[in-house]
């Protein structure tokens, strides 16, 4: 899987450049309300899209299966303030059990 290695290297370099730039660039260059707001919105929007594709996406179709039930369980546990790791494990267990039935 050579292409995966290329992706990983591009990702590592790209992420490092952002991290270093933040520490290096004079604050006034980037500290504009518009860029601040964009920075707040980007993770929210990308994570929303990632969840949707991860949970409902199939091979060029949408599929409703155990993944959606698992996401529902995850949402309930997050509302109950269950920590990250037990929440993820419970979601996985939900999907695994539904597939066993």
């Amino acid at each position: 899987m050579t292409s995966a290695w290329i992706g990983i290297i591009v990702l590592a370099v790209g992420c490092f450049i952002f991290k270093l730039a933040g520490l290096s660039v004079p604050e006034r260059v980037l500290d504009h309300p518009f860029t601040r707001r964009a920075a707040d919105l980007i993770p929210v929007a990308l994570l929303g899209a990632l969840i949707a594709v991860q949970v409902l996406g199939g091979d060029h179709t949408l599929v409703i299966d155990a993944r959606l039930a698992a996401l529902g369980v995850a949402a309930v546990l997050l509302m109950l303030r269950v920590p990250f790791l037990p929440m993820v494990l419970a979601a996985a267990a939900t999907a695994a059990l539904l597939r066993l039935m």
Partner: protein, 225 residues
């Protein structure tokens, strides 16, 4: 004035809680087609959790690694603003800045930015960074080994765990009705595109549309009321 000891205690608490979930990253990375070394290389060299999950999420949904890298780098762009907040506190120059940049992530920023002195900001930044770096890489390795040993990841619901992990990362950011609407809009656009576009594209386009709408409508993390 908080004591140095309490800064270190905070750092260790955040570090241990965060470092532990490298185990889910390792397991999910191998479940989405990476080998153990690729999973470990990511935690060592990328070292920003949400972007790492995004990369394997795109791979798992059939996208190519460059699309995955682009999505993940966009998600990592927030570290730029963390760096901006940290710079005046940490006061780093030259080689020290270059060596420290790798640890500019959500958690180190959260622990360091609330400190009043450079000394305590550095204390929080390096203790949190070191704890997470050591644990995140160790647990990634353990998770990746476990992930390859168990057979079909779907039998264990690991594919469903990726969505839950993303929701866990998104949850603390859903602080206003506006941000919730933006997340839903991105999800809706992405879902709508899945049948018609190459894998990975729905995530980037859905995310971009929602960001533009959010900027246009002045959506912010706090409700205006």
């Amino acid at each position: 004035m908080t004591s140095d000891r309490s800064v270190i205690t905070d750092s260790l608490g955040v570090g241990v809680a965060t470092g532990a979930y490298g185990i889910s990253f390792g397991a999910l990375a191998t479940a989405s087609g990476l080998d153990v070394w690729q999973a470990c290389a990511m935690s060592l060299a990328v070292f920003t959790g949400a972007s790492q999950f995004a990369f394997i999420g795109v791979l798992a949904s059939g996208g190519n690694p460059l699309t995955g890298a682009l999505t993940a780098i966009l998600l990592g762009s927030r570290n730029l603003f963390y760096g901006l907040s940290l710079a005046p506190l940490l006061r780093l120059t030259g080689p020290a800045r270059l060596a420290s940049a790798h640890w500019v992530i959500d958690e180190t920023t959260a622990v360091a930015v609330t400190r009043e002195t450079t000394r305590q900001a550095r204390l929080g930044f390096y203790w949190t960074g070191a704890t997470i770096f050591v644990l995140w890489n160790t647990t990634t390795f353990v998770g990746a080994l476990a992930g390859t040993a168990i057979g079909d990841p779907r039998d264990y619901g690991l594919d469903a765990a990726v969505g839950a992990a993303f929701l866990g990362l998104l949850w603390p950011r859903l602080t206003s009705w506006g941000t919730r609407a933006i997340a839903l809009l991105a999800a809706a656009v992405a879902i709508g595109l899945v049948p018609f576009t190459a894998a990975g594209v729905p995530i980037i386009v859905g995310g971009a549309v929602a960001v533009l709408v959010g900027l246009r409508w002045h959506v912010s993390p706090e409700d205006a009321s």
